[in-house]
Amino acid sequence: MVNRKLIKDLLNESACSHNKTKKASCDKPKPGATSGGCAFEGAQISLFPYADAVHLVHGPDTCLGASWETRATLTSYEGENNTPLGYCTNVTTQDIIFGGDKKLADALAYIVEHKKPKAIFVYETCVTAMIGDNIDYTCKTAEELFHIPIVPVHSPGFVGSKNLGSRLAGEAVLDALVGTREPEFIHPFGINLIGDYNVTGDMWQYKPILERIGIKVISSLSGDGRIEQIQMAHTAKLNVIVCAKSLVTLCRKMQERYNIPYVSVSFYGKRDTSNAIRSIVNAFGDAELIAKAETIIAEEEAKLAERLRPYHLMLKGKKAILNTGGNKSWSIASALQDIGIEVVATCVQKATEEDVAIASEYVPIVFKNPGVEQPRLIDEHKVDILLAGGRSLYTAIKKRIAFVDVNQEKKVSYGAYGGLENLASDVCSALANPVFKLVGKAAPWELV
């Protein structure tokens, strides 16, 4: 069942820096003035990338019906990839009256028989939380019978935001899986990658580079992750949090329980990627490793400069405004600067105070009211390109400048060194496209 105490602790997380003044991302949602996903969605995002586990949603069809196969989280798993599949107990009126435990047990048996997964995650939803299904007991009984981990995830939507759901999912993994398997030997430079879900293969942009330096990725939560690996996560020497403040709690607890320190990094853009690699090797403090890292960073940066050269000509001197949310308000800004674009301003309406502080280091102007300030800034600074969510498209059309939708599900990775080339290519295409000047043209019958 839902653990109120745990939720309260997670919301008061001491390792969470924005907590000191304002619980921006942790506040209760306001009726009639709320956007963004629920705790269930957060849990789903955090755990679905485990492709070798089945993800069973215990609730009516809606929670899953609208959300399966929506995220391009890639995996190299060779068995049946469960990430893009949707499993749901489809709770109906009858189950609500008589309880859904039996249906859940039946569903678990069906999955074990037909799919033979490495583990099953069972997601509690609002309805099954309210009718008081004993999910813990059903999972425990089934686990004993089928001899695979069956992990209840108590993150029904109504307990809070997506962010909280990610934390609860992390807790479920920590309690049920981490430390339940021992490796054959322990790697001296083993790390866990925490919070990268390998959307469009972001992780694969930098993982091979880390491996070339001599670092071993023991496990991942959860991009391209495996159940057996996360079970051995306690044997890593360092936790690396990738652009995800929601999992700080998990890392702090792993530090307490297993004495694993953690670093928080971003792999967006050239500078951040190089800095991320340095933070990781510095945490190990091994001189040879640090030297190796510097050599490889130099190699990669030189290769990148070569690849970006054709774009520089087109992008040099171009001015951009960025309007997106959270850590993207500075991470994409940094990446844009790396490809030679001058970022005039970035919107921090939906960013935490910590993000605002970082954004101000990268970008001269941070603004909070895009409706008013965006058009003004475009005029004042003669901006060439607007990178924002779909809502701002009309602003770009009206001002006849190029537009890139940065909130839409992206199709290619913008991560690490390799991803920068993708970003440069996308920005160049937008700048070269005549459509933005054409589409806002007056109709023949509007001309005087």
């Binding site: 996903g37 009516p60 109906t92 039946d106 309210m130």
Partner: protein, 426 residues
């Protein structure tokens, strides 16, 4: 509990890759077909968020929706009225909706909120319609239909007047915005004054608006709805909305109700014109209609070579599957149908039909040539090397979803040709 015993259960205890979408999602779309409306989903924030994301990606357009954001505390101590009034207050601080469409979810139905009472308390402040749409019952079609029924019973003002040339069209949820427009145009050509409820034809048709507001960008206006009572003819398209037409006729007995299960294929279109002409007491149609019928006749003959030998599995909402299956069978195709939820239309099918999920569809797929379903079918079609036509919600892969026209003589031609050509290039 003995799990070993339970393993022998014959009914599948879960959905694997579900086909079903929920009632609240159907209600959302219905309210988006009303001008300056704010759909307000009474549930946890995620219900509205998932819905918003799905339709935004499907239509490639902004979707107006708000949530009462019930949390685990208010779920227990609030009977609903506090959250709902707070939501309305917060919405009206920013925008001035002509209507707030309030509908429930599984969670708020489980706790049994009195949404009628909550709406009454807000009567002076905001015009509202309330609908019960638990997601553990029904699906997309019934959520849409229930909303229309409640709009009819709660909004339309009583009248004794009647205008024989005014027609109210009630489309089912599967009709695309342009299909609604084409249907309205077809009736306007026959000198009707036409209104559609809901009317997605100018709200989700993918037009570049002057500004992207927080409310629905078009549709039938609330004042038009209130004055619908004098419509001499009410026309329901699709079995899921038949009850809406019956209800209108019950409330305004002087009206005539015509019902059509489908508007795809020669038989269905002929039935449509036959009944409309009968109502008008006329035998004449505009020449463009005659021309398109003749073109459809030709298309039927041109496509029967390929389609006559084709084996096609269709998986979608019941009314949508019914229409397509009938049209394809007219040219000799063998069709297997999967529907997302129970429906009255089940008995009318002339091919195999069952309620199922994509796991069931996949089991049958190796014996078929083509699959028609939503974008989730793409993975299956690739895996089994089958032709694919994407229809239904959601479709994240393609653009121009709102512009698709597959009804009446003209649209039927387009549909049959598209299926034929996809099969040819397999």
């Amino acid at each position: 509990m003995n799990l070993k015993e339970l393993r022998t259960t014959s009914i599948k205890p879960l959905h694997v890759n579900p086909l079903k979408l929920s009632q609240p999602m159907g209600a959302t779309l219905a309210f988006l077909g009303i001008k300056n409306c704010m759909p307000l989903m009474h549930g946890a924030q995620g219900c509205a968020s998932f819905t918003k994301v799905l339709f935004t990606r499907h239509f490639n357009d902004p979707i107006a929706i708000q949530t009462t954001a019930v949390n685990d505390i208010t779920a227990v101590i609030d009977g609903g009225d506090k959250g709902i009034s707070e939501a309305v207050e917060n919405i009206t601080k920013k925008v001035t909706p002509d209507l707030v469409g309030l509908f429930t979810t599984g969670m708020t139905e489980t706790k049994g909120d009195d949404i009628k009472g909550a709406t009454l308390l807000l009567k002076e402040k905001q015009k509202m319609v309330y609908v019960h749409t638990p997601d553990f019952e029904g699906g997309l079609e019934s959520g849409w239909s229930l909303s229309v029924q409640n709009i009819i019973s709660q909004l339309i003002e009583p009248t004794t007047q009647i205008r024989k040339d005014k027609v109210l069209v009630i489309p089912n949820v599967n009709l695309s915005p342009i299909e609604v427009e084409k249907l309205k145009e077809a009736l306007e050509l026959m000198d009707f004054d036409v209104l559609a409820l809901p009317d997605l034809s100018d709200s989700l048709d993918g037009h570049l608006g002057v500004k992207q507001g927080a409310l629905s960008s078009g549709g039938i206006s609330v004042s038009e709805i209130e004055k619908l009572g004098d419509a001499g003819l009410v026309m329901s398209i699709g079995r899921s909305v038949k009850k809406c037409g019956e209800m209108f006729h019950e409330k305004f007995p002087q009206s005539t109700h015509l019902h059509f299960d489908s508007l795809i294929g020669l038989e269905a279109c002929d039935a449509f014109y036959a009944q409309v002409l009968n109502y008008l007491g006329s035998k004449s149609v505009p020449s463009v209609v005659k021309r398109w019928r003749a073109r459809l006749q030709d298309v039927l003959l041109d496509t029967h070579f390929t389609l006559g030998k084709a084996k096609i599995v269709i998986a979608d909402e019941p009314d949508s599957v019914y229409g397509m299956s009938k049209a394809l069978q007219e040219v000799g195709a063998s069709v297997e149908a999967f529907i997302s939820q129970r429906s009255e239309i089940q008995d009318a099918f002339t091919c195999g039909v069952r309620i199922g999920d994509f796991e069931d569809v996949e089991a049958l797929l190796p014996q078929m040539d083509m699959i028609i379903a939503n974008f989730h079918a793409e993975r299956l079609a690739h895996k089994h090397h089958k032709a694919l036509l994407i229809r239904g919600f959601p479709n994240y892969e393609q653009v121009g979803i709102g512009l698709r026209h597959n009804i009446l003589y003209e649209g039927s031609c387009a549909f049959l040709c598209e299926v034929n050509n996809l099969l040819g290039h397999q």
